[in-house]
Amino acid sequence: MAVEILKEKYTGKVNTVTIGTGDKAMTVGGATALPFHSFEGEAGNRPMIAYEILDMPPEDSPAAQKEAWDAHWGDPAQWARYCQNELSAKAVALRLVSTDPDGKNAGPEDAAETVKKVLAAIDIPLIILGCFKEAKDGQVLKAAADAARGRNCLIGKAQEENYKTIAAAAISNGHKLIAFSNLDFNLSKQINILLTQTGFNINDIVIDPTASALGYGLEYTYSVIERIRAAGLVQNDAMMQPPMLLDLASVVWKVKEVKAGEDQLPEWGNVSERGTHWEASTAVSMLTAGAEILVMSSPKAVQAVEKTLDQLMK
């Protein structure tokens, strides 16, 4: 008698979200089974990796980032173009760090100017990230959304304190939205409900469940992603079916393991390689948990992850 392979049946489907316009637009999501369980259902679209670019040079940076980006710091438009043309980037994520009120405190109009320049330099999809301070992001992302009108960007991150402003700006300019919650799937569902109550379409939302670096809470992020995906697929919970974005670049490059030099920790090996590996390992874990969009920094790490995806999507 033939052995019958047990397969899980799912009732839900991950929403598809398209970012960008024209030939270079990218669509993520669409899975009807857990990540890479193509034997149980549709695997959906290939996850998308976006290169992080910054609107001003960082104060200090780990070796791997410095090696890759030193020549591009200070000119985000040129940097974005380099990612597109030289690295075959599928998307870029512009982080408006200069708007941080505790830093340079650049205004919304400066941010809008940067967004325009970057968009003029590329035709791949753009993710626009604020400085992650709720009140300021409300102002900055509104201006950025206006400046990016018609380019179908993904903007964020919308949180409890600023979601109304950002959602309104996204709707009126035709953008998609990142809904952020701090490692809490109940709150993730809540922010999606609140967004839909403002009239925002659930199909235009991407969930950011909070990224954590390997060794710094990665397993918590993993569980939250799993729980969200299970609610969407198994319980067919419409509020938990948006694709997920993991902002790895914002967490990986802050940890000791990617920063401590060989003079301090010779037994840990080459610091640049260490950084690359750290980001790549974190990224692959997030993909197996269920991430659809990754924001990453190291080109070598991105290449390694793309190669892994080639295998996983076969």
């Binding site: 799937f185 109940n186 569902k189 809540q190 409900i193 839909t196 109550q197 509020m239």
Partner: protein
Amino acid sequence: MLLIGERINVITKVQREAMKNRDPKPIQEMAVKQVKAGANMLDINIGPAEDDGPELMDWIVKTIQEVAQVPLCLDTTNLAAIKAGLKAHNNQWGRAVINSTSGETVRLNTFMPVAAEFQCDIIGLCLSGSGLPADANDRCAIAVDIMTKADEVGLPLDHIYLDPLVLMLNGNQEHAQHCIHAVEMFQTLNDPPMKSVVGLSNIANTAPASMKGILTAVFFQMLRDAGLTAAIIDTLEKDFMEVVQTRNPKMVYRSDHVEKTERVIRGEIMYAHSFLEV
């Protein structure tokens, strides 16, 4: 169903001041109000009362029983205060209850002998020293430790109320169904069945004020259907008491809301503060 009124509690300002100043009036008023509303026991939470625990408990037990003819549930971690309360307690309306021991060895060794000495009742909280119980089986394993200790010190098992440890739905959703299942399982641990109690309001902790009513009412009814014998509750909540009377949350809340809340408690729909709105 034993309804234990929760409103005499050191965390509320009026009661705290009254305890501090030995002012009988607010405490007696609150006691009478709760009994009139349907409480057949009153929880007396004096906090740790490190300075004057025994003296305070002695005073408050006598003060309350002057006006409220019900037994009391002595809620403190202060062992000397518990003893003083038990000495002062008038048993003519029923046995006093110690609130509580857990399954931790230290607490079992501290509180269980006192319960045996006074032959009063005791709440056994299903919490051990090794973190939260994972499921209903874990809760039962701790319950058995509690029952074993009672047997060892000579406290009859019908003096124990097993508490499955209600956690807030927001963030601990799966524990709601574990609690319901545990209440069912507790009844199989002995013949006659073990009694059970819950601190009900925990289920709605951190939920918006507008959600607390329906969450507690629906959860209460589900626990009751599972065989719950006692609950520490707010008897002054009119909507809740109507559910207690009618045994039907749909008499108070919209049917579809009750059904959705049941599904959330069973873990079939993920909790979010606004889950009723989708």
